[in-house]
Symmetry: D2
Subunit: 161 residues, 4 copies
């Protein structure tokens, strides 16, 4: 496509409020036991951006042997959420307000890669966009697209009570 | 609230196309290995309605010890999807086109109950609405609300290739 | 349908924080020039509930002569938003954070009725659900369903700067 | 931001099925009386891409003098829908299945520009992504982001019955 939304003037790079954002984000992800349950790992985190990978496993599937749409939602939710969290203050926590996901192709094997990025940071609310691709046999297929809203909880621990 | 959307004239009860819908839906759910992984069970299925229960488990949590929003999405996605599938023809399969979920309260323990119902059945597309409640200590708290779109695949097996 | 989400225990009626909520909501709606442009009127407002009516007009249509999906979104957005605003403090303003709408049937004539209700009020965020029906020749058809998120702006005038 | 979703390998340019797609899309838009009502014009159409402009008008506003969120949804819905329609067969029609929109900033004046692009074309369903920016005094501000699902109706006239 010769034109696209990205023909808009690029947004300025995001400046993280917390210079130690990457360690904070990775530590938070490390406490997500649900990510360990499904075998997901965080492979990249940058200001306003996060990537999570999930190798195909038979116990993640729905009735037809594809990865369950809810599992695809899980990794997209986490990738988008941590993209947002990378820009939040050091002493804050975050909650997912809502997300919307389109599932566009089945994921039958290989590696799922979820990427989230911030499209609008804010003091209270942050809006993100994400996508999930399936990589197998040298091919990359777009599996899902997400649009998500998150809320910053200032001065709130990001750990269990 | 003295008035509500339900003050609309009630929709006629849905007539399932497949008299054996309940067995078909339960068999399909039984093939969802992802539901077994998280410990979810299907507790009710009626024409255009489905209920799934998920007991709290520590390995389903996010960084603060609440059930991961993606897990909440998983059971809502399945409850809504099987509500739709209950009304589809016997030889059909279904795919989730998209869903949108609002997370309204954290789920910290007890039992999660996801309920889905069809709001508009169709030959190609079916629209559903769902909610997830957390039940603990005799209280019931609304945790999430979903709106979802599904597509019928006619003459398609609902089993792995 | 013999069972439905409404088999859940009913939520307690909402208590408005502002006893003069109805006049405040109607005055705010009266400032929405876009509603006047399309010919929409507010027909009911109760705590956590709002109804807006829109008679069919030829200049509201899309390419096939049906009411434009964006117009349907407009009245649903306003009905849901004012359902939320009815529960907010007297000196607050509100903004729509996001909404999702499914269009389920075309609206070709008659009267469109949009109803919104609060499903989860909150100090910062309120979640609503809405539907649009078309009434014509004594029949009522479900045209659209919405799920929406709104944010309260405390101590903020609800009028132009 | 040094990395982004666009670091994905770019999708191949879309090949329109109908070489006369641009004239067909513009003719369809010309039949949308609702776009004339609000003063919107189609400024660009390319395979899988469409742009619609809307100058600020006082009669498009909500209670605080900003452009009504539903109006923003209208032009985004049309821009995304016509991006999809550009790739559909000559004798088809389309319907909006659903859309989700985040409103991220108020639009108080100047020019609104809605851009839609196809992220996944399909025989039955097409998924699009869109954004609305406000341009005023040489500045461009991101106002809204949309994710949308459309359905092709094959062998169906795109004109009133």
């Amino acid at each position: 496509m010769t034109t696209s939304l990205s023909s808009q003037p690029p947004q300025a790079a995001f400046e993280p409020l917390d210079p130690a954002f990457a360690a904070r984000v990775r530590a938070s992800f490390g406490r997500q036991k649900a990510m360990a349950l499904i075998g997901a790992t965080m492979t990249r985190v940058e200001p306003g951006f996060c990537e999570i990978e999930l190798p195909f496993r038979d116990d993640l599937t729905q009735q037809k042997g594809y990865v369950h749409g809810g599992i695809i939602g899980m990794i997209a939710d986490s990738a988008c959420g941590y993209a947002a969290y990378s820009l939040m203050p050091a002493d804050s926590s975050l909650v997912t307000v809502e997300y919307k996901i389109n599932i566009m192709a089945p994921a039958k094997g290989g590696l799922l890669v979820a990427r989230g990025e911030v499209i609008k940071p804010g003091r209270t609310l942050t809006i993100t966009s994400g996508e999930v691709t399936a990589r197998q046999d040298g091919r990359s297929v777009l599996v899902a697209a997400m649009q998500q809203t998150l809320m910053t909880l200032p001065d709130t621990p990001d750990t269990p009570d």
